[in-house]
Amino acid sequence: MATMATPTPATTTVAEKKTRFPRRTNWWVPYAFLAMPLILYFTWVIGPMFFSLYMSFTNADGISRMDWVGFRNYRRLFNDDIFWVSFWNNVRWLIAFITIPIVLGLSLALIFNNDLPGTRFFKAGFFSPMVVSSVVIGVVWSWMYQPYGLINEMLSQLGRDGTPIGFLSDPKLVTWSIIGAGLWRQVGYVMLLYLAGLKNVDTTLVEASRVDGASAFESFRDIVLPLLRPVTVIIVVISTIDALRSFDLVNIMTRGGPFNRSSVLAQMMYIEAFNNYAMGYGAAIATILGLISLVLILYYLNRTMKDEMEY
């Protein structure tokens, strides 16, 4: 590609000579390129974000006039049991999403990193749930969780007696059951991210440590793991954001039931805003959700910013 920069042969005409100087870029050129993307992005993403914030201080119901009500929605929210149930369920999602996929995904990535024959096929197998929409996963897993569904039948074949487990009807179990379906999707994704991270780990470092007498575990703990730190941070951020976004599976599998026990903030917001038409209230829930995410987003941006400075 460097050849493109070589000067044109000596036979340049006068006309060509004139253009030998690089064309000056007008100051407005970047703005021209950014105009349409920015208009769309402001209209559909940035603007709505701020409008949500505004709506959370109103009594919007989608029909009558919006009136400013100050912090009333928020006061109501913090006294709402469903809010706290949803909040703690989001915390459960979060804990599950940043532990299990990381352990399983990293283990799988380490196994697949050896590039033994057939690895590609196995990788695709573990990753495949990620390609499928969450609706499909919700439909299939709801069926598996039924009282006489796949899992209960399997358990009774294995010798379990008694009443079937109510995966989606037992208030204590229901959130974990839905999380299970979510994890099935997430593990493959985290595995892929770790595989990409492992590609950047200099194998000569590992080999050198082995030659120096470190055990496989020691070289993993002292060399590979620290080198994977940046990837892990990104995975934690992504998983947290995914956990906060969890809605599809809850909405499809239980709609938050039984008695809102499996609700998450996103589901609660949807019900309040689009079922009960309490739009101001829904906007307040969304704002809380947004604020929690914002902390993470800023942390993530801050990290990327640091990398930026190294350019």
Binding site: F33, S128, P129, V135, A196, V211, V231, I234
Partner: protein, 291 residues
Amino acid sequence: MATTYPSTHPAPRTAPKTWRRVRIALFYICMVPLLLVWLTPIFMTLLTSVRSLDDITVNGPLAWPRSFEWGNFQEAWNTGGLSIYMRNSFLIAIPALFICLGFASMAGFALARFEFRGSKFLFFMFVGGSLLPFQILMLPVYRLANELNLYDTIWVLIIFHGSFQIGFCTFVLRNFIRTIPGEIFDAARMDGATDFMVYRQHVLPLSLPSLAALATLEFTWIFNDYLWALILVQQNKLKPVTTGLASLRGEFMQAYNIQFAGTLIAVVPTVVLFMFLQRYFIQGLTMGSGK
């Protein structure tokens, strides 16, 4: 490394080979059952989709199909409305893909190649926006769709997905365009090319691999979207396959065979895409998160 320290590796030549065989054997002994368990939901979906309803009720969910009812797929496709839902999904995903990649490549180019006041800020705004929880956009987008008379049309999904995904795509493309050596741009400018020509003739062709990776990923994301379709489209004949499946489920309450046949039809496009473009798909995912 072994060649550097020949004396510390006195092991006979055959040892690594047998060791490798043992490792491969162990790999298969562990991974084959694990993968089978992991994919049980998929196998069971396949099996259930070809069973008859009587067969399921009588013999339970675990039994092997007594007969293969391929008609289930026809039923889901015609009566279940999958043919319409499927068409709608393509009608939404493909134009949205062009909107988002077209504009994101422009934004990515501008942010990668020009330093101007606020360029960093705009870049972080794109990245940050793409990480927002959807709930914070839901109500205003719903209102805006109503104001613009776009509510309950396919257009609103096209334009919303196209716009929202600009954030992530700009992030990836800007980082990619930064890796293109600056000499190419300088040379093109020397030859009198305008910035737009540079974008058309150099940036777009050179970004093709990234664009392909993003296209596979974005297509899957938009195709699999449930939330926005749920909020913005009500009519059955306009629903994409995700909310369509949810209605199919309501229509065929206990008929899991039909539901699952529909489910399988619904995953065909993204699965095929993944099978053929796996490399791009994975590149897209890791480009976005790795840095």
